[in-house]
């Protein structure tokens, strides 16, 4: 199809009716695939790439309530770097992101390995582990806000059992509130990591494990030395997806802590929204959005690079 006649038709010698009949679908058919893709490409160029550029331009202006195009260079980035709330948000993202990713990986891989031991009712257990992923982060936030409520939630329940000195009031404690986000987010996403690992485990050739068993290796040793290295791509994908969820986390913070107490649990996503939409600081908000994009690219580019490499070699 690709190297058919339209090319020749443009050449100087007119080929006449005979040539037309030998290109059965005609010019339109050759262009149809491109025509079908054109709107999506246009959408992507405008709404993704164009908007990224637009936000970057905004981040170089002094825009407040409304976008204005009065350029101030990288002044907004300098203001951002001097903004204490931004540093709280960034530090929170580091704490939240690292704990969220690591705990999800540990719980997810452990559950997957345990479920892979020919368990009865595996399907039912899998369904239970994974269902939180179907919920909205807003629902998750509302539920955990209730569970973590010191007066009526888990703390009150355990105290009611007779452990009067039991304390679990992290959600109202500025130093600990960030960890409540980790708990709720892990609850929601660790089952998904389990599903990823289980799919990976099922894809491993049994004969490798059997061979290791014949060599007398113990089961934990086999998993650590033989199976885990095979799952490296799964770990990599999981880290990538989880880090991505962490950077984008917005709804969970809004529903669970509202960024509070004070702004103790602000994340860059909530910082951006607050400044761009409610505090009339469009320039500053745009600058923070660009830094978020930078964070995503810092994770994405090594990932895509290794994906492309492994595809070439694999």
């Amino acid at each position: 199809m690709r190297d058919s006649l339209p090319m020749k038709n443009t050449s100087a010698t007119p080929l006449g009716a005979g040539a037309k009949r030998s290109t059965p679908p005609g010019g339109l058919q050759a262009w149809l695939p491109r025509l079908v893709l054109a709107p999506s490409v246009a959408i992507s160029l405008f709404f993704v790439y164009g908007f990224m550029l637009w936000t970057f331009v905004l981040s170089l202006t002094s825009s407040r309530m409304l976008p204005s195009y009065d350029f101030v260079g990288f002044g907004q980035y300098a203001r951002l770097m001097a903004n204490e709330r931004w540093w709280v948000a960034s530090t929170n993202l580091m704490i939240f992101g690292v704990l969220f990713v690591v705990i999800c990986l540990v719980i997810g891989s452990l559950l997957a390995i345990l479920l892979d031991q020919k368990i009865r009712q595996e399907g039912a257990l899998r369904t239970i582990y994974l269902y939180p992923m179907a919920l909205s982060f807003i629902v998750t936030g509302v539920v955990w806000k209730w569970l973590l409520n010191p007066q009526l939630g888990i703390q009150a329940m355990v105290q009611g059992w007779g452990f009067e000195s039991f304390r679990f009031d992290w959600i109202v404690d500025p130093d600990m509130a960030i960890y409540t986000l980790v708990i709720a987010a892990v609850w929601q996403a660790s089952g998904f990591v389990m599903a990823l690992f289980l799919a990976g485990l099922r894809g491993i050739d049994d004969s490798i494990i059997k061979a290791a068993q014949l060599d007398g290796a113990s089961l934990p040793r086999i998993y650590w030395r033989v199976v885990m290295p095979c799952l490296r791509p799964v770990v990599f994908s999981a880290v990538m997806i989880l880090a991505h969820i962490a950077i984008k986390s917005f709804d969970l913070v809004v529903a669970l802590t509202g960024g509070g107490p004070g702004y103790a649990t602000d994340l860059p996503a909530t910082f951006m929204y607050a400044h761009a939409f409610t505090r009339a600081q469009i320039g500053l908000g745009s600058a923070s959005a660009m830094l978020m994009l930078g964070g995503v690219l810092a994770i994405l580019i090594p990932y895509l690079y290794s994906e492309l490499r492994s595809r070439k070699h694999g």
């Binding site: 690709r2 679908p25 058919q29 149809l32 695939p33 491109r34 079908v36 893709l37 999506s40 490409v41 992507s44 160029l45 709404f47 993704v48 164009g50 990224m52 637009w54 936000t55 976008p67 559950l111 345990l114 031991q117 257990l125 369904t127 582990y129 994974l130 269902y131 939180p132 992923m133 179907a134 909205s136 807003i138 629902v139 509302v142 209730w146 009526l152 888990i154 009150a156 329940m157 609850w187 089952g191 998904f192 599903a195 990823l196 799919a199 791509p233 799964v234 991505h244 984008k248 917005f250 529903a255 996503a269 951006m272 929204y273 939409f277 908000g285 745009s286 923070s288 959005a289 994009l293």
Partner: protein, 292 residues
């Protein structure tokens, strides 16, 4: 079977017991919040303040559910989340149908009608899956204003279609790559055109990936909060935004049972989809992350 049982030593049996113990504990961790949410939503307020989180409802009542649906205050208005529940459907259904259709055609064109630069087109579009949406919020708000559809359902549908086609294209492209080219080539030789081949050859085998794409888009758009809160007005809000407003409205006594009932209402559609089609849900989640 028989010799498997005979080989079980007491130590092995203990290990098995421990294994099940851990798995069941984990199951409790995941299921209890849902149980608590459901039980709290049918308890009267007096029972909530007197009893504990896990105490079984003594006098179950559906009053919190009807209140959450039709009367509870979400911000300034007090007409429950029911209207917003239908809002969500009015946004989700068109957005899912349009984005899935476009994704299917894109995936088909990218795999069965490859042309110079088609891989580049795919890579270009794929990037849309990864951007943090904060980076498009402000330009989007202004563009919706120019188009005259800011704060409308049509505007939200547009936003979800625009940022959904990257995912749907990815799903269909990865699926169609696995369909042998011979059939398509033969049909091309017979003179069948672009749409005819799609309709007669690709579409009949696409059921699994259509289900994956529809479920993925449905849960994504239903659960969306960021676009909903940024681009809606009080009468076009999706249910997630209404739920958040309801929980954070501070007038009078905090009615936790109504909060939980509203959360259940907002969660039910995606939970039902998950229970009915969990297999496809998992496939959507893992598409693009686990190769193949």
């Amino acid at each position: 079977m028989a010799n498997v049982i005979r080989r079980q030593t007491p130590a092995a049996r203990l290990g098995r017991g421990l294994l099940y113990g851990v798995l069941i504990l984990a199951a409790l961790f995941y299921i209890l919040p849902l149980v608590v949410m459901l039980m709290t939503s049918v308890k009267p307020l007096s029972e909530i303040s007197a009893g504990s989180l896990l105490s079984f409802p003594q006098n179950p009542t559906f009053a919190p559910w009807t209140k959450a649906w039709g009367e509870a205050c979400t911000g300034m208005r007090c007409d429950g989340v029911g209207g917003y529940f239908w809002n969500s459907f009015a946004i989700v259904i068109p957005a899912v149908l349009i984005s899935t259709t476009i994704g299917a055609l894109n995936g088909y064109a990218l795999t069965k009608w490859r042309f110079k630069g088609s891989e580049l087109v795919f890579a270009l579009m794929l990037f849309g899956c990864f951007i943090p949406f904060q980076v498009v919020l402000l330009p989007m708000a202004q563009t919706l204003g120019w188009l005259g559809i800011s704060s409308s359902r049509a505007g939200l549908i547009l936003v979800h279609v625009v940022f959904g086609i990257a995912f749907t294209t990815l799903f269909f492209r990865n699926f169609y790559v696995g369909i042998p080219n011979e059939l398509v080539s033969a049909a091309k030789l017979d003179g069948a055109g672009f749409f005819r081949i799609f309709w007669r050859i690709l579409l009949p085998v696409s059921a699994p990936i259509i289900v994956v794409s529809v479920i993925w888009q449905f849960t994504q758009i239903w659960n969306d909060f960021l676009f909903g809160v940024a681009f809606s007005a009080h009468n076009t809000q999706p249910v997630t935004v209404a739920l958040n407003n309801l929980v954070n409205t501070s007038t009078g006594v905090r009615e936790y049972n109504v909060d939980m009932a509203a959360a259940m209402i907002a969660a039910l559609p995606t939970l039902v989809v998950y229970v009915l089609a969990g297999k496809y849900f998992v496939r959507g989640l893992t598409a693009g992350s686990v190769k193949g």
